[in-house]
Symmetry: C2
Subunit: 397 residues, 2 copies
């Protein structure tokens, strides 16, 4: 409790864009997010009043962060599980708790839990030697997908492996791996749900996530053309997982849509890129909802504010390259605002590097192709300084 | 320009709730608002990363704030005009500029300017001796309204005066005053417009502002039952004033609606209580728009996101009294969220005192009476811990 305000203090491990946007939501609730940031120039550290500098692998830093906070939560999954237990043992509330969070940290733990629960997922096995991979591929075919159980994100730690030799090399480099069948998917979906300690859950419409090179490029809300029964099934699946694992806070269930139904890919237990659209596109954003959930506040309405919302990520592109000679960021923001006055910008304040998630844009409307074209064109312009001919600037601009 | 982000730095004088909510908007644009706050526990100082402590009447503090900022702007009108000129003379961009802002600082200056422009306003006169008040009342009738030219807000510095004796006493106490006819108004309206140095303007729907004891209680957007031609006339009036005075940033034109049309009451050149509904109720909030305008960015869409938006202020009430024995703030927030899951809370983090603006709530929908009832009941519960019977808590709560 903050004695100045009479309101709780949420502490978040990680100073990235998720913490940055959670701080925005905290401000509305009368709070100020306390952030553990690796450095003073991280996205959230640039804007938050209450910043603790330190590393998320340093238990002392975690304990400093937790001191006086109502609850400790996370903008990523990389805090060592033993540190989470140590925080809890020291009397700090941790949400999600370590026994839940491990399912978002360790893909093997997740696969075992989903198998025990009978939930749909790709065929998988734990493999330590190449013969086990060969045996799996004998049943499910090459290529297979090999994944490091821990530490991966945005496609890192995921390998599509065509043969025995590559599998052997990965096993030498990484040790025990998770092998999965390569799913013939129609597309990727995501079901997001929030759950409070009280057990209340709130679920948003299921979205389609468009991935490029393993990184989220666009999110379409709601997932276009998704049959009602499939959407409901995906939502119910997410709620079951949240309940069974005892998730507290936001849960993103990343799904493969296949002709036979949905399969669980992986989980995130925090605000997630798939839910950035909720800032403008839903009555309650995932960031506010995460705060409400970890504080055991009642959850907010997840109703959409428009028929369609599209979020497009801005990854560092040509304009983030060292030799970029085109318009600078501030000038690009000017043009963005001039050409897309209804597109909402979220810029994370990071240093620009190619491939880095630098910001996102959101467009709302009724007609998906048009809304999507506006969002994609705006994001592309920010990233690459390139204008889609459909949105060409007037002469003289 | 912030060398870390490549984006501009807006500095705002004043650490109140307007600066707090402007910081939220700045975060989305990749920025971090720099705030001059009177103390570390002011609303904005509690949440902003870049806080300069100091008084807005201290030129040195203002110069420290301005150092390295792209532009200096305001969350109130109380900076001495000579300090504004000194900032400009020192090479700092000030928005709105002193020659515009003085019309929001000094009601006599405003009355003269509106008279010169031929814009509709109440009958008025500058009065230094009581005979001038009597002469004015002879033409317009008692009671008259006496106003201190400077320093008033939220009904402070405004006196409804029934007779010569009270007028004489006020003149002794305050010196030269503005006298105005007491307008027989139907209701109060507000037209908000943003204007950039480039000259672009953006205008929101005209709203009705409901005042209680001179303080804004509710804002209804759009103003219910307002004829289109009257709404358009009010918007055009606001745009004309913004242009003529050279306003940069947000301009709120407070209006009296009378059977003969609208009359200008006063101006604010900053985000304004009348526009808090725009955070959820419009594509671009007044806070984001103020930043865009003072930075000479292109302005954002002012389209509404729902047919009706209602903002209700939370003024410190029974629950802010020293002897309050009911549920504390955190518990009231719980109940608020449980009972009005779609109502959006904005709490300013201030110490609670009766009569103080502590926060506001916003509800959106299609049916004004129902939306208004939800917002008003939620605000009243936060302020007084009292539940409207229409929203009674279930037994056992």
């Amino acid at each position: 409790m903050d004695r100045r305000t009479g309101l709780p203090v949420v502490a978040m491990v990680g100073g990235g864009q998720l913490a940055r946007m959670t701080h925005q939501a905290a401000i509305a609730l009368g709070q100020s997010l306390r952030v553990l940031s690796a450095g003073p120039d991280e996205s959230a550290a640039l804007v938050a009043a209450d910043v603790e500098l330190g590393d998320h692998r340093d238990l002392d830093a975690l304990l400093r962060l937790a001191e006086g906070a109502t609850v400790v939560t996370f903008d990523h999954e990389h805090v060592p599980t033993e540190h989470l237990h140590a925080l809890a043992a020291a009397g700090h509330r941790v949400a999600p708790g370590p026994d839940a969070l491990v399912h978002a940290q360790d893909k093997l733990v997740l696969r075992r839990a989903l198998a025990a629960a009978g939930e749909p997922q790709p065929a998988w096995a734990e493999v330590a030697v190449v013969e086990e991979v060969e045996s799996f591929a004998g049943r499910h075919g090459w290529p297979v997908v090999l994944k490091t159980p821990r530490g991966g994100y945005d496609g890192k730690g995921v390998f599509v492996v065509p043969d025995r030799d590559e599998a052997a090399a990965l096993l030498v480099r990484h040790g025990t791996l998770l092998v999965e069948e390569r799913v013939r998917l129609t597309r990727e979906l995501c079901a997001q749900v929030a759950r409070s300690p009280f057990g209340q859950v709130a679920v948003w419409p299921v979205v389609e996530t468009v991935q490029v090179d393993g990184v989220c490029s666009e999110v379409l809300a709601p997932a276009p053309g998704l049959a009602d029964e499939l959407a409901t099934a995906a939502q119910e699946l997410a709620v079951r997982i949240a309940d069974r694992l005892g998730v507290v806070g936001m849960l993103a269930v990343e799904l493969f849509e296949t002709p036979e139904g949905v399969l669980v890919n992986e989980l995130a237990m925090r605000p997630h890129n798939s839910g950035h659209w909720t800032i403008e596109g839903a009555r309650t954003s995932q960031f506010e909802q995460h705060l409400r959930a970890v504080l055991d506040y009642p959850l907010g309405s997840t109703a959409m504010t428009a028929p369609v919302a599209v979020m497009a990520n801005v990854l560092g592109g040509r304009a983030a390259a060292d030799d970029w000679a085109g318009p600078g960021l501030d000038e690009r923001v000017h043009h963005l605002m001039a050409h897309w006055p209804d597109v909402k910008l979220h810029w994370y304040g990071k240093g620009q590097r190619p491939g880095r998630k630098l910001g996102h844009v959101t467009a709302l409307g009724a007609d998906l192709p048009r809304v999507r074209a506006r969002a994609a064109a705006a994001a592309r312009y920010l990233a690459d300084g390139e204008v889609d001919p459909a949105f060409a600037f007037p002469t003289g601009h």
